[in-house]
Every structure is written in structure tokens, then in C-alpha cells.
Amino acid sequence: MEFKNDSFRHVYWNPYFGGLLLGLLIAATFYVTGRGVGATGGTKATVVTAVNTLAPEYAGNQDFYSKYVDEDKNPMENWLVFETLGIIIGAFLSGSIKGRVSLRVQHSPKITSRTRLIFALAGGLLFGVGSQFARGCTSGAALSGSTVLSLAGFITMIGIFGTAYLFAYLFRKLWI
């Protein structure tokens, strides 16, 4: 057997092992905090902060921002902001140990990196909008929501995966 220097770079954990650890982590999170994990709330806090800094009058009066703006409290002082920082640090640690850290665009050889980036932006936009309608994304609504058997969690999980399977054929050129 031949080993290349970088052959370990794409060796990931066994998915069932990763799933077991993730499940225990989510159970521990609920046990300690009474809530699950999330991944969009931190980004939302930065949106609210930006608008509140540039146009405080407007943010205080508009129906959506005003829900998150409080005179005595910085919107960044939020559980999910700290958790989001943790996600970035944790992923960076794992990636550095395996030598996966470098600036690059990952895409199928059949498309250009420009195409990849345009669709990445579009996908992010849709996730930003969709997560607000659904009150959570794949982490906060589907993963944490399903764990405690909430109706909304199961609707979101089935909605995201069902839609993606239904329309996968249309976007196949981007990936395969």
C-alpha cells in the first residue's frame, strides 16, 4: 500500500461515531441549558447590531429589530453569539489537526469557481430568509427541534430534506 504525505487529509470520523458524540453533546446541552444548539442566531445578532449601530432610531421602532433591541443590553451579548464563536474555533482546531486549513474554493471540476461562489451566495441568501420564516435552521429547528419531539422541528426536517430530494435533479450539474 502506498501512502502519500497528505493522504490523511480527507479521512473523516466514522459518521456513526460523529453522530453518537453529537447526540450526547445535544443531550448535554438540553440537560444544562434547557435548549438545544443553533447556528443562525449568532449571525442574526450581528445583523441586528449593525442596523442598530447605523440607525438606532429605526431599529428601535421597526417591528422585527425592536424585538431584539434592548436599551440596556447589547444584542451581541447573546448565548448564540458565544456558541457561534465556539463553532468557528472548534472547527478550526479539528481542521488544523488534520491539515485541512487553507484558503480555497471547493467545487466540482465541471463548474468554475465563479459559478460555485454565485450559487454559494444564493444558497446562503435562501437559508437566511428561510431560517427566519421557519424560526430556525438545520441546527436550531431540525436537529434540536426534532430531539425534543417538537412538531415544528419535524416539519422543518421533513421540509428541508424533502424539498432538496425533490429538486436535486435540477441542480445536479453543480455537483456531479
Partner: protein
């Protein structure tokens, strides 16, 4: 008895430290499982890589059964855990939008953060997209507020809605997990390999 912070067993000053540590473990597990690679994630929709289904379903089953067991043993009050409120029309629309976003962008918000952390430019751009999407939603909020809040059903669980006990659902989910793992392994063996 848990949840600890609700019952003042852990003081709220520790909240942010705990948040950082939970996030750290979350990010580490996601990255180590390969969730920082969009081509690996999207494989679940084309049959060449089922890591998403395996990790996701395993973790939901493990967490669900662990929490129900802790409740059964009296270490935790399951009914005190936060249940996401249901707004049926908005949530259906939102998850359809997110499903399309997944196909186009190849990430979801948590996984794009792990990609961003290891320097993937597509992950950074996806995160910029999320930021703009939330901003757009917020700006449009006065026009979509009525729809967004329609069909409110409260913090409903499957138990409330179907009148079945949680153990039945947990058992059903575990059976579903085994079926999904078996079927996905079969599909994986019969789909052309993709190098990425």
C-alpha cells in the same frame, strides 16, 4: 434535577462560558465528520455520500433517547425543555426555501461556519449570503409580518398533536434510523463513485 440553568443549579454567569464550550465541541464534531465539505454534504441528495443522514439521524436518536431516559430516571424534567413554537404556513415555506438553499449552496448555516473556519471561500461567501438573507427578511418584515405569524399553534410537541406517548415516537424514530441506514448503504453501493 435538570435542566440545570433553569433550576438555578448553575448560575447564569457561567452561561456564556458554557455556550463557548458547547459551540467548540459542536464545531469540532461537525468538522471532524466532514461537514466542512459541501460536496460531501450534498452527496446525500445524489446518493454518493450519506454522511449527513448518518450523523444527523444517529445524533437525533441518541439525544432523544438519552433525554427521555434521563427523564425516566428522574434526573431531568423533559417537559421543561424548550419546544420550538409552530407557525405552520411560515415554517413550511421556510423549510422549502432552505431545502433549495442547501442544493444551491451546498451548506447549511452550521456547516458553512465550519467551512469558513478552515478557509473555504465558498463557506465565507455562503455565510455572507445568510447575513444578507436575514437582513433582507428583516427589512421586508412589515410586509410579511402577517403571513409570518399566521397559523400559530403554540409550543406543540408531537405528543400534544397526535396524543401518543414520547416512547412510541422514540421507538418509531429508531426503527426509521435503521431503515434509513440500510437503504442508504444499499444506494451508496449502487451509485457511481464521485471523486472530491
Amino acid at each position: 434535577m435538570g435542566p440545570l440553568t433553569f433550576n438555578d443549579i448553575i448560575s447564569t454567569e457561567w452561561n456564556y462560558v458554557i455556550a463557548l464550550l458547547i459551540g467548540l465541541a459542536f464545531g469540532y464534531i461537525l468538522e471532524a465528520s466532514g461537514f466542512s465539505s459541501s460536496r460531501k454534504l450534498v452527496g446525500v441528495f445524489y446518493g454518493y455520500d450519506f454522511v449527513v443522514i448518518r450523523v444527523f439521524i444517529t445524533s437525533v436518536s441518541v439525544a432523544m433517547i438519552t433525554l427521555l431516559y434521563l427523564d425516566y430516571l428522574g434526573f431531568l424534567d423533559f417537559s421543561m425543555l424548550y419546544v420550538l413554537p409552530t407557525y405552520l404556513p411560515a415554517q413550511i415555506l421556510g423549510s422549502v426555501i432552505m431545502g433549495l438553499g442547501f442544493l444551491m449552496g451546498g451548506f447549511c448555516p452550521g456547516t458553512s461556519l465550519t467551512a469558513l473556519a478552515i478557509g473555504k471561500i465558498d463557506g465565507i461567501i455562503f455565510t455572507v449570503g445568510i447575513w444578507l438573507g436575514i437582513f433582507g427578511f428583516s427589512e421586508a418584515y412589515p410586509y410579511i409580518e402577517d403571513f409570518n405569524n399566521s397559523g400559530y399553534m403554540g409550543n406543540v410537541t408531537l405528543m400534544d398533536y397526535f396524543g401518543v406517548n414520547p416512547y412510541t415516537f422514540a421507538f418509531g424514530f429508531a426503527v426509521f434510523a435503521i431503515v434509513a441506514f440500510t437503504v442508504s448503504s444499499y444506494v451508496r453501493r449502487n451509485v457511481k463513485e464521485i471523486q472530491y
